[in-house]
């Protein structure tokens, strides 16, 4: 496998990763059955796609379907069971072999064709009526898999075709959480360990590691305080209204739309005498079809905080150090920018600026923080 760098188009935000490194970093984890099991065990995810397909059979019966990133093949199988005439299941990893086995065991090998390769490389024998995919990463866009779906749409979807899912939104809300203190404690504990380590290395081995304290602190600060966290938030932890960061129409969105997500929005605090510990970010997707060919039953998959309907995506938590005391009626004016990591276009960097307008009319000094979604 030789190295081949992706061509860098003008204006692209994140650095493309050489293809084989991208394959190794991103795709090879999806080649393992235990990763597929994790996703297949997410009932909210499974129910949403299952219902979207089987309650909208009209979109599938007698039609051609393209499943982008088929994994174990579950969406391709359901599409076939819903009456598709032909399903093309594209999978970049060796999981394609498992998908074939599963499809054959469910007697669908005449309908579903598994094609191994990346979406950007494969050629299909025909255009399709439906593109179905589960491309969402944490906070919707981590992993940048939607790029491949856009490519598939632009190359293979008929002009009258529909996208499953058809729409997506990114959300953010103010939250309170004990994690903020816990992470600060972890960071301080790590630095204490480091200082002890420096003392011990000096005492026992005669080597002064002190000059590395500053870069170590920067490394750990990023890890503990600036990297967003996966979390399954309880709805009671949300202390204000949620703001919509971005709305995406999967039929018309471009890569440029999602390379940099820039947004200004407001959130209001709805709890009296509370503590702003950070922000929770999540997404939802909708199966609505297209305006000329709507779904009979609209299905929504949301990853919002929930007691009973948590997903494997959870929410991303962006911690605020130090937390702030706020009251009901306080207004948060947020400027948000999410762009692709300079080192790896499948990871994200967030710049979040916030200005607080207290309900008393006073405006607090704005703050600006940088976060990493890794």
């Amino acid at each position: 496998m030789g190295t081949s760098a992706n061509a860098v188009a003008g204006g692209r935000g994140g650095a493309p990763v050489p293809k084989d490194v991208d394959y190794a970093n991103y795709f090879c984890t999806y080649a393992f059955l235990y990763h597929q099991k994790e996703m297949l065990s997410d009932r909210v995810r499974m129910d949403a796609y299952f219902n979207a397909i089987f309650e909208n059979k009209r979109h599938f019966a007698g039609k051609t379907v393209l499943d982008v990133g088929t994994g174990s093949g579950i969406l391709a199988i359901w599409s076939a069971q819903a009456g598709a005439r032909k399903v093309y299941a594209v999978e970049a990893t060796k999981m394609s072999e498992h998908a074939r086995a599963l499809i054959k065991a469910n007697n669908l090998q005449d309908v579903v064709e598994v094609i191994e390769g990346s979406m950007e490389e494969v050629t299909l024998p025909e255009r399709v009526d439906v593109i179905i995919s589960e491309w969402m990463g944490y906070f919707l866009l981590r992993e940048s898999m939607f790029d491949s779906v856009i490519h598939a749409r632009d190359c293979w979807l008929k002009p009258t075709g529909v996208m499953y899912p058809s729409h997506a939104r990114m959300w953010m809300a103010p939250i309170r959480t004990g994690i903020v203190d816990h992470k600060l404690g972890d960071y301080e504990s790590t630095m204490d360990d480091w200082h002890n380590f420096v003392d011990e290395t000096k005492t026992y081995y005669g080597v002064d590691m002190g000059t590395l304290t500053k870069p170590f602190s920067e490394e750990q600060r990023k890890y503990y305080l600036q990297t967003s966290l996966w979390n399954s938030l309880h709805p009671h932890q949300v202390i204000g209204t949620a703001g919509i960061i971005k709305e995406i129409d999967c039929l018309t969105a471009t890569v440029a739309d999602i390379e940099k997500v820039r947004s200004n929005f407001s959130m209001s605090i709805t709890v009296e005498n509370t503590k702003l510990c950070g922000f929770g970010g999540w997404f939802d997707v909708h199966f609505r079809g297209r305006s000329e060919d709507p779904a009979e039953h609209e299905i929504e998959l949301t990853t919002a905080p929930s007691v009973d309907y948590g997903t494997h995506w959870g929410q991303q938590v962006f911690l605020l150090h130090p937390p702030m005391r706020l009251n009901e009626g306080d207004d948060l004016r947020v400027s948000f920018l999410m762009s692709r990591s300079k080192e790896n276009h499948r990871l994200m960097e967030v710049e979040l600026g916030c200005e607080i307008h207290q309900h008393s009319g006073k405006i607090l000094a704005p703050f600006k923080n940088k976060y990493y979604i890794e």
Partner: protein, 535 residues
């Protein structure tokens, strides 16, 4: 082509009226000879013993007058970042010879580059290094990125068995280091170079390929009395040039099962490139130890992972066709943890790898016949493996061991679990084979076979009663050290999890409900591979 070229170039020799280094005064010019032969182009002149070697890929030849030219070659000084040029001024006897020389050099460059087939759009790529030929570039990139982070260096430095043993081995054997030249292969943070300098080395060259080289420079500069005798060189030992040979090589090239990450090969290459014939290697010998084990708890734990795939009607889909593959997939992951040595059911055997003698190619494939006598009657679930290495100093010989029951290191031990256990009785012979084949993701495919011969009634028939085999990928272990153990370890042997705890249940100060906090699920193999050692 090779022979023809040799024959052709032997005929070309140019007498030069004078040759002088660009960096020296014109008065040092002296007559010389430019000679083309099968080794390339060399320019000799009487005032220098060593001829000026010309690299056809980087040479630039400029005519400054009808009978005078400047010949420039690009190179890099050891330890310095910037490229520099080295050149000579050549005076020819007449303009005909000058023109002929230029013509021959151009032709020679063209033919040399054509042989390499690397000319594209006017650019010339350097030839691939030994390392790049063997190792897939994506694996190397992730590997060096991982070891370029301080967090992982700290983890290894705080393995006090590891760091303490190296420290003791070096300082106890300072007689080997005083006044000697040392090369630290895969220096990481530079800690071993600092130990070597503490022990009185005349000079230490710390070779490090990852971004950790910058931290090593910083660390060494922070220890100024030692820094004068240490030079950090960023690059692979397969590629770099050093100003002198080493009397001692020091390195920490061991991975899981000793050979994982394939850094022993770099250590051996460094020996062939840099070590003087009578030089020492720290460590000089490694041994892989093996013994059969029984562990019902572990076996069931692995087998149960595949239960999900036994569902016949999961959202209308029969998942069972993938159960077999999933089951074998879980068993293809070697298990890395610290286990109770009482689980071993036979005395161990070992396989010796002598770093001072082994050829690099011998590490591409390692084939070990196995033979044990069971001490107890039980089910054998697989083969347990660990390693030790010897620091064969002239004053003290010291072993660093990763054996079960010894203080736990960040390497732990490794177990190959068979999906089909075999039954043995006390006194019964267990035979088999452990076959390791290197692959380009810096690791090995493991093929293990264990057999138990018939014993007791019917033994005279000489047949094999039971055989079990498995294929495992050393690149993808199951790191089990943070799983609950079925047996209690002594407190001082409690294994410390290498991975940051990913499941923490925290009672929030503000809430009654517990929160589940997790780091993002790893989506990168960079977090999975090469987890446990220094380069």
């Amino acid at each position: 082509m090779e022979e023809s070229l040799g024959q052709k170039w032997k005929q070309r020799e140019f007498a030069l009226a004078s040759v002088s280094d660009l960096s020296s005064a014109p008065s040092s010019a002296s007559p010389g000879i430019a000679r083309f032969d099968s080794d390339g182009l060399q320019i000799h002149h009487q005032s220098h013993q060593i001829p000026f070697n010309v690299d056809p890929r980087t040479v630039q030849l400029f005519k400054v007058s009808p009978v005078q030219s400047v010949c420039v070659v690009e190179g890099s000084d050891v330890g310095k970042k910037t490229l520099y040029s080295r050149g000579v001024t050549i005076q020819f006897r007449n303009d005909e010879e000058s023109a002929a020389f230029h013509c021959v050099v151009q032709q020679w460059k063209k033919e040399v580059n054509a042989q390499e087939g690397n000319v594209r759009n006017g650019t010339i790529t350097t030839s691939k290094s030994k390392f790049d030929e063997k190792i897939e570039s994506s694996s190397a990139k992730m590997y060096f990125h991982y070891y370029g982070q301080l967090l992982h260096q700290q983890n290894m430095l705080q393995d006090y068995v590891r760091t303490g043993t190296y420290h003791a081995a070096v300082l106890e054997n300072r007689a080997d280091f005083i006044g000697r030249v040392v090369v630290d292969v895969g220096a990481g943070s530079g800690i071993l170079s600092l130990f070597a300098a503490q022990a009185g080395a005349k000079h230490v060259y710390a070779v490090e390929a990852s971004e950790m080289a910058e931290y090593a420079r910083k660390l060494i500069a922070g220890n100024p009395t030692l820094a004068q005798r240490i030079t950090v060189i960023k690059g692979k030992v397969e590629d770099v040039e050093l100003p002198e040979k080493a009397d001692i090589l020091i390195s920490e090239p061991m991975g899981t099962l000793l050979v994982n990450e394939r850094m022993l090969e770099s250590y051996v290459i460094a020996r062939d490139r840099f070590l003087v014939p009578t030089g020492k290697m720290f460590p000089g010998v490694g041994r892989i130890h093996m013994a059969p084990f029984t562990d019902e708890y572990l076996f069931i734990e692995i087998a149960n992972k595949a239960l999900f795939w036994q569902q016949q009607n999961y959202y209308g889909v029969d998942l069972t066709p993938l159960h077999g593959t999933a089951f074998q997939g879980y068993f293809s992951q070697p298990v890395v943890d610290a286990f109770d040595p009482r689980l071993l059911i036979a005395p161990s055997m070992f396989h010796v790898i002598d770093f001072t003698k082994i050829k690099e190619e011998e590490l591409y494939e390692i084939d070990i016949p196995l033979r044990f006598i069971a001490s107890v009657g039980t089910r054998v679930h697989g083969l347990a493996c660990w390693f030790d290495v010897l620091f064969n100093g002239s004053t003290v010989q010291r072993w660093l061991t990763t054996a079960p029951g010894s203080p736990t290191t960040h390497w732990y031990q490794l177990r190959c679990v068979l999906s089909q256990p075999i039954y043995v009785m006390a006194g019964q012979e267990i035979t088999g084979r452990l076959h390791l084949i290197a692959h380009n993701a810096q690791s090995y495919t493991i093929y293990l076979t264990l057999s138990a011969k018939m014993w007791g009634p019917g033994a005279e028939q000489g047949g094999i009663l039971q055989t079990s085999s498995c294929k495992l990928d050393l690149k993808e272990p199951y790191y089990r050290m943070s799983q609950p153990q079925a047996y209690a370890l002594a407190q001082d042997q409690q294994p410390q999890p290498l991975i940051q705890t990913q499941d923490i249940h925290i009672q929030s100060q503000d809430l009654d409900e517990p929160e589940i906090v997790q780091q993002p699920l790893p989506n990168s193999c960079a977090q999975i591979d090469s987890l446990m050692r220094n380069v």
